[in-house]
Point group: C3
Chain length 157, copies 3
């Protein structure tokens, strides 16, 4: 696979991932991860200070499935709409069967009344397993720029 082909594959994964969340297909969200995985939402500040205090943490696809179930039961997600805008991905490391990449993201939330607000900006730090039918996230750290995150509303980012 050439560098340009790898870039295509990684950006396609990111675009499909974002589309699933924006389309409220939350049940698809865990399927972008390997069975054993690491998904963490953490402020950039805590990440840089190596404080392990995150907003959300999961280390298996099963925990992500549980998270979706909770969100569905609480009816939290549906009241708003989310839109991801992603910056082109930067592949930072390439090895046999896996790549590391970072992607700047922005999420805009629109309320049912139509008010738009900047909901979150930050960076994905991803470890992606390639070689299977589709690439999958073995690790996805979501570094939020702002500490003002409503932890009760820990929706997928």
């Amino acid at each position: 696979m050439t560098d340009a082909e790898l870039q295509f594959a990684v950006e396609r994964l990111e675009a499909r991932y974002a589309a699933a969340i924006d389309d409220d297909r939350l049940e698809d969200w865990p399927l972008f991860f390997t069975e054993t995985c690491r998904y963490q939402i953490i402020t950039r500040e805590n990440y840089e200070k190596k404080l392990p205090v995150g907003i959300f943490f999961a280390n298996s696809r099963g925990m992500l499935i549980d998270r979706v179930r909770s969100l569905r039961e609480a009816n939290i997600y549906e009241a708003q709409r989310y839109r991801h805008i992603l910056s082109p991905t930067l592949v930072t490391r390439r090895e046999a069967g896996a790549v590391e990449a970072q992607t700047n993201y922005q999420v805009i939330r629109t309320t049912q009344e139509g008010a738009m607000m900047l909901f979150s900006t930050g960076r994905y730090l991803d470890r992606i397993v390639i070689g299977g039918p589709e690439p999958l996230f073995a690790e996805k750290l979501v570094l939020c720029d702002s500490r003002r995150v409503d932890t009760l509303l820990a929706i997928p980012l």
Copy 2:
């Protein structure tokens, strides 16, 4: 054409399209469409409920040309500046001579006084004809996340 080459061609079309609008080259805007086409601005909500009520609809390049003429006569467009930020495109279907693709977009408006505001976010749902000298939009649905759209100001998105 490889997947990566197709991706390149589609993203280039989207970037040229956005640049024409941002540069106030509105007269170039209809030229990105086939003669018979479908261009529609519709809220995401109405689209999902299959309500045919759109903010703007055109089914020919001629109608788009008329739209530009109206905007020029009303002097509406020039008072503000627009900036498109596009997320990498996701090709969802590929067939002989055409592709379907979706692209998350964000438009920021800047007034003459310098105030910036989030003007619109949403998704393009495109059907693109390839094979000619340049790819063209046979269909472009603009799904706006917010219902708060000033319909009098239906500028190209």
Copy 3:
């Protein structure tokens, strides 16, 4: 180099450039430029009117290094965090050893308290030298959409 490979190389340069600024690795910022170069921040309005009044101008890597030193001494940069969201790059010209390209950008600033604001939107107009170990900017014009720019805070964009 195919068009798709060139696109990859250019977008990778833009992503690395943005990451250096967002990561507060300002000392790396001048290294993305050729020794003799042109870096200019100017409002879109002044650029279009061909008014030479810019917000910041440098014509050598040395001037950029000086700029970073001033920012460090004033402790200006560190109090905020910046996040670049880039739109896919549009290559507008290709010649032997160089390309011209434009990239829509958006920068979101997050204060230490966690408030997020749209800091700047606009377009990069770049002239990029290729052929060396890494592509480099021979010219980077940053056209800001808004005239409201705090010139005292002329941080890299």
